[in-house]
């Protein structure tokens, strides 16, 4: 997982393309324009007097396409910038973290397969730890501590103090607490437990700080 996937950095060759960045940009614009034209193909353009739904999108798409073509032409005529280096690791983990958050916060179902709503309690640490690995310098121990301390803070701030309609914990968890506890009480208890977990992890692994990068998680939860 640690391998950094470098994007292609084309060597400056003396081919017909003199500005690879413009070429790529132009292609992107033309593709976008084609997509928009394709999507609006069945819509009515109307007349200037009574504009139809497709009038503006279609003309804009044509404009975008023309700009794209102009950029493409320029790429062959004028020297320009090379494509910058792309790294895959950053975007992959960041998007992965966002998706993980989106899928677990309220639950999501794809046909027969369903993810239960796990609330901020799970989605928060998931996003932090998964997202944290977007940089090669990531250290699991630090991320776990961060997740265990920041998540309860957000739970209390957004769920308790600000009363935002954000799911905080999976409903199944209420069974673990005395039946007469209110939702808020369960929330606070969860937050306190997590914060305590953060302290435990911090203390338990303190001596190993200069040690290997992937310190095991002793608290038994992620």
């Amino acid at each position: 997982m640690s391998a950094l996937h470098e994007g292609s950095e084309p060597p400056r060759h003396r081919g017909p393309v003199r500005a690879p960045q413009s070429l790529a940009g132009g292609l992107l614009l033309v593709a976008l324009a084609a997509l928009a034209l394709f999507l609006t193909r069945d819509l009515d353009q109307g007349t200037l007097n009574a504009m139809g739904p497709a009038m503006l999108p279609r003309w804009l798409a044509i404009g975008v396409g023309l700009s794209g073509l102009a950029l493409l032409t320029a790429a062959f005529l004028k020297d320009g910038d090379l494509l910058e280096r792309w790294s895959l690791r950053g975007p992959v983990f960041v998007i992965g973290a966002i998706l993980a958050f989106a899928l677990t916060i309220r639950g999501y179902s794809f046909g027969t397969f369903a993810i239960p709503g796990l609330g901020l309690l799970v989605a928060g640490p998931l996003a932090i730890i998964l997202g944290g690995f977007a940089t090669p310098e990531a250290r699991l121990r630090d991320l776990v501590i961060l997740a265990l301390s920041l998540t309860p803070f957000c739970m209390v701030l957004f769920g308790d103090l600000l009363n935002l309609p954000i799911p905080v914990f999976p409903q199944a968890i209420t069974g673990l607490f005395p039946a007469d506890w209110s939702q808020k009480a369960v929330l606070r208890a969860c937050a306190a437990l997590m914060a305590a977990g953060a302290v435990v992890v911090y203390l338990a692994t303190r001596n190993r700080r200069p040690g290997p990068v992937d310190v095991a998680d002793h608290s038994g939860r992620i």
Binding site: L56, L60, R85, I128, G132, E137, I166
Partner: protein, 500 residues
């Protein structure tokens, strides 16, 4: 004149209530707290913090949001001075001399003069808004759909001219932005456009989602590409209050910066961005010894910072009087107002005077708050800036997710910030600047609506845009600007301004 004062006193009556003072304070504080994080500009900050205002009454919410905005602005300047990482385009200039001052152990003075200059600029800008608000609202009554459309065209041309890099790319970005705004149900016919049949796209793309993706998430991805070399100043921050010499050197730049910033801020099409650049260039031109600039000249912080803050504030004018958001931050304000059931535009002032004047008065209060809370808290910001990015960005990421989810309670919104984040990242890699796209998106819906109306009134004749004198004038200005920007000699000068 009497009107002005009675209005302002009405406003201060609202803004100085204990609850609203508290909200302004809180807004400034959290705004600075998030805005100070490297790589988080005002747009991402506001989008992230928008949900915390949901539970408030509209006046309180807007006061708090304005506080968040100023806090984020000032937080960005703090980061620019202390770490040399400007959070957004407008603090790029501050970083030049501000960071040099910090390296010389004068970080405190740089931050102090930035705060004092901003406060002065904010005070003047508040008065400008209060004075111009009423007459400009009158102007809005003269404006029909034809004029509105032409005004927005002019705004977009401004944005093209002000964008960095290739003009062709900026035009393409504007067009893409307007194109994106047409996604969703057509208001007139009710037909779905470019939605892929997805129900959550039927209402169109949410602005906060687009902005958060393009400015929040894409920024994280971009920062991850560069191995981190953050040089947080190691020198002592030094005394905070500028001494007599500093004041003598900087009061004129502050005055000039305020003037430039306030005027440019009123222009539609994100004129405020130009303020700091213009102010810096001017100060450098008229300085006795221009070589001092870039080596820690206090004028290079005082002028642009004042221009920045004056512009940040006067950019409320097009929004409050005409209902046209001149930049992305104001578009987020539109979103926030709509959530609270207020439609921005000339009618706000007449229908809801306490809100209108309360908000204007709270702008001044917000500026005062910044001065009061930021200077003593500099030490805390420095400590925050020393947190390594590998720990900061996961936290930012989670805050973005929570923020965007809380706005509509839709998991798909969260997924879309990932998608738009990647799009923004790709755009940056291909050399496109995303800011004009966002402005195109902001104005797109309004433009289509007004274009349609104007054409219905004129029975389908495009000549209507030239027949109406105001509209013709606006379009002429737009055309002249575009031609000027394309002239080779001016283009060179423009490039110089931006590379400086």
């Amino acid at each position: 004149m009497g009107d002005l004062f009675s209005n302002l006193s009405l406003g201060f009556g609202v803004a100085l209530s204990l609850q609203n003072l508290g909200l302004a304070f809180l807004g400034c504080l959290v705004g600075t707290l998030i805005g100070v994080l490297p790589g988080v500009g005002p747009i991402a900050t506001i989008a992230m913090l928008l949900p915390i205002t949901f539970g408030l009454d509209p006046t309180g919410a807007l006061i708090m949001l304005a506080g968040i905005y100023y806090g984020a602005q000032y937080g960005g300047s703090t980061t620019a001075i202390l770490v040399n990482i400007p959070g957004e385009a407008t603090s790029v200039v501050t970083a030049l001399d501000g960071h040099e001052m910090a390296k010389q152990g004068r970080a405190g003075v740089a931050l102090g003069i930035a705060a004092i200059g901003s406060f002065f600029a904010g005070t003047v800008a508040t008065l400008v808004i209060a004075a111009l608000g009423a007459p400009l609202t009158g102007l809005a009554l003269v404006f029909g759909p034809t004029e509105y459309f032409s005004l927005m065209v002019m705004g977009l041309v401004f944005a093209v001219v002000l964008a960095r890099g290739s003009i062709l790319k900026a035009i393409a970005m504007i067009l893409v932005g307007v194109l994106l705004s047409t996604v969703g149900t057509d208001l007139e016919t009710g037909e779905e456009r470019m939605t892929f049949g997805l129900p959550f796209l039927a209402d169109g793309i949410d602005f906060a989602v687009l902005a958060m993706g393009i400015f929040g998430i894409a920024e994280i991805m971009r920062n991850l590409d560069h191995t981190e070399h953050r040089d947080v100043v190691r020198q002592a921050i030094g005394r905070l209050l500028p001494n007599r010499d500093d004041f003598r050197q900087s009061y004129k730049p502050v005055l000039r910066g305020t003037f430039i910033g306030a005027i440019l801020g009123i222009l539609p099409g994100n004129g405020a961005v130009l303020g700091p650049f213009a102010s810096y260039t001017l100060e450098k031109k008229i300085a006795k010894d221009p070589r001092r600039f870039g080596r820690g000249a206090i004028e290079g912080v005082a002028g642009p910072e004042s221009a920045n803050n004056a512009g940040a504030q006067t950019s409320f004018i097009p929004l409050l009087t005409l209902g046209i958001p001149p930049n992305a931050v104001m578009a987020l304000m539109v979103g926030a107002m709509t959530i609270h059931g207020i439609i921005p535009g000339p009618q706000v002032m007449t229908k809801n005077p306490t809100l209108f004047w309360g908000m204007i008065a709270s702008m001044w209060v917000g500026n005062l708050m910044l001065l009061v809370i930021n200077l003593p808290m500099v030490g805390m910001w420095v400590r925050l800036l020393k947190v390594p990015y590998r720990l900061l960005f996961p936290a930012i990421l989670m805050f973005c997710c929570i923020g965007i989810y809380s706005i509509n309670s839709l998991p798909t919104d969260v997924m879309f910030i990932g998608l738009f984040g990647f799009v923004g990242y790709a755009l940056i890699k291909f050399g496109f600047e995303p800011a004009p796209m966002l402005l195109g998106f902001v104005l797109g819906k309004l433009m289509e609506e007004n274009l349609r109306r104007a054409l219905i009134i004129s029975r389908g004749s495009l000549e209507t845009f030239i027949d109406h004198p105001i509209s013709a004038g606006l379009l002429a200005v737009a055309a002249i600007l575009l031609v000027i920007a394309l002239l080779p000699s001016i283009r060179k000068g423009r490039d110089e301004v931006f590379t400086e």
